[in-house]
Symmetry: C2
Subunit: 222 residues, 2 copies
DNA sequence: GATTTAATTTTGATTACTCAAAATTGACAA
DNA sequence: TTGTCAATTTTGAGTAATCAAAATTAAATC
């Protein structure tokens, strides 16, 4: 049976959820999964039990869910498609980086393997999407770079924005308008815990202050 | 309520079915509709009754179905998307004309209006798709050219292939390999009712004979 | 250890879409 | 006019996905 769009979305959400796990955690909690998919918790439970029957996930009642090897392979395929499509829409079609997420969210389920291969070829086997998110390889490996956020990187040291971990269109437009897109070089001038803010020097030496919450979503390389 | 992919497919099939109606016929028979969609006849009846409730079609039991103005508007929108996407995949992505139908069949339901507009713009508001099928305008008009088929056009007279009315990949590859794609100039040398065939002179003066059934699917302009 | 609470699961129901097979209809032919 | 038949509709049933609200569980608090 080929997986439905719904199943693909569940697997992808679990896959992404797993990458967010910190410390010794192994399982994505049902609440987090339901939240990520925008569905009722009971629905997630029912569905995950079905996925478990199909051998795509391991489900531990009251603890959470994780992917099997089979589930991981499918999830990586969907995520690869999503990110290739996003980059394609920006690079080839000329859409803006804050416009492409929703289209990719739908197209990832329906375009043919042939079209995805063609896109990958046109883009020259890219490694990251327009937001700096890594693109899983054709054989299902997710390249991992260790990145620091603007909350943890060294002060007074030039760093390059590598990734923006928030798909919200308004946030992305804010980032763009302040010249903080991936590829741009910036410097953290100061951090202030009391005011919960981070002071930055942008590409054009422009100074700006952003909240810690926003700063945590900007990942950089040294 | 925005229409589901299923509803869009029904409306599109009725729309296309209506254009195939000859003579005084007004209604698309349920059998033809079910056949076009690859579903059981009873399913079509049930669904059409629901579409009728929604005001998208007029349903006459035992006679057939036709679109209301509202249904026509939606159907034209889907067909426009389908054909723009096909042309985009050929012109921009570099896929072959026999590969694009299935991708378009799915993408037509999910891509955003913004992406469709961008595609229309990139292609310069095209009037026909890769198979010569007319593209409905943004306001829902389907441009109509009167075309003759190779069964009815004059003999020994140069004509230009304008449209191929069969999406089957093998058929399209046959047409392409014999230099009979839209735009190419050919001439009908002879028709033979007994052998059910048509003799052609191709672009390169190559002679070939094709069956009447195939010939009827090649539409030309004088 | 008992109690409260938050997360999770279960229950019961709904919507959308589908099929196979039985019943019906309407057109045509005998 | 009646019988036949093909097309169509109806019936009964099933799958996939969803929700709201009740019940349960496990963990944290008292
Ligand atoms: Mn999706
Ligand atoms: Mn992205
Ligand atoms: Mn379709
Ligand atoms: Mn076409």
């Amino acid at each position: 049976m080929l997986p439905s769009s719904t199943v693909e979305n569940y697997l992808k959400a679990i896959y992404v959820g797993e990458t967010h796990l910190t410390g010794g955690e192994q399982l994505v909690p049902m609440g987090q999964l339901a939240g990520a998919l925008g569905i009722a918790p009971g629905t997630a439970t029912t569905m995950v039990k079905a996925l478990s029957e199909s051998g795509l996930v391991v489900y531990e009642p009251y603890n959470g869910v994780r992917l099997t090897a089979a589930g991981q392979k499918l999830a990586a395929r969907v995520l690869r498609r999503h990110r290739l499509i996003e980059l394609f829409l920006v690079q080839v079609v000329g859409m803006k980086w804050d416009e492409v997420h929703d289209d990719a969210e739908q197209m990832e389920h329906v375009v043919s393997d042939r079209l995805i291969e063609r896109i990958d070829e046109m883009l020259g086997q890219p490694e990251v999407d327009p937001h700096g998110d890594p693109i899983p390889t054709a054989d299902g490996q997710l390249p991992h770079r260790t990145l620091e956020s603007l909350l943890t990187c060294p002060l007074h040291t030039p760093v390059t924005v590598a990734r923006v971990t928030d798909q919200d269109a308004a946030f992305l437009r804010f980032i763009e308008s302040h010249n903080l897109k991936p590829g741009q070089t910036i410097e953290v001038e100061a951090r202030d815990d009391v005011s919960d803010s981070v002071r930055l020097k942008g590409a054009n030496n422009a100074l700006m202050t952003i909240g810690a919450r926003a700063a945590s979503k900007l990942l950089v390389t040294g």
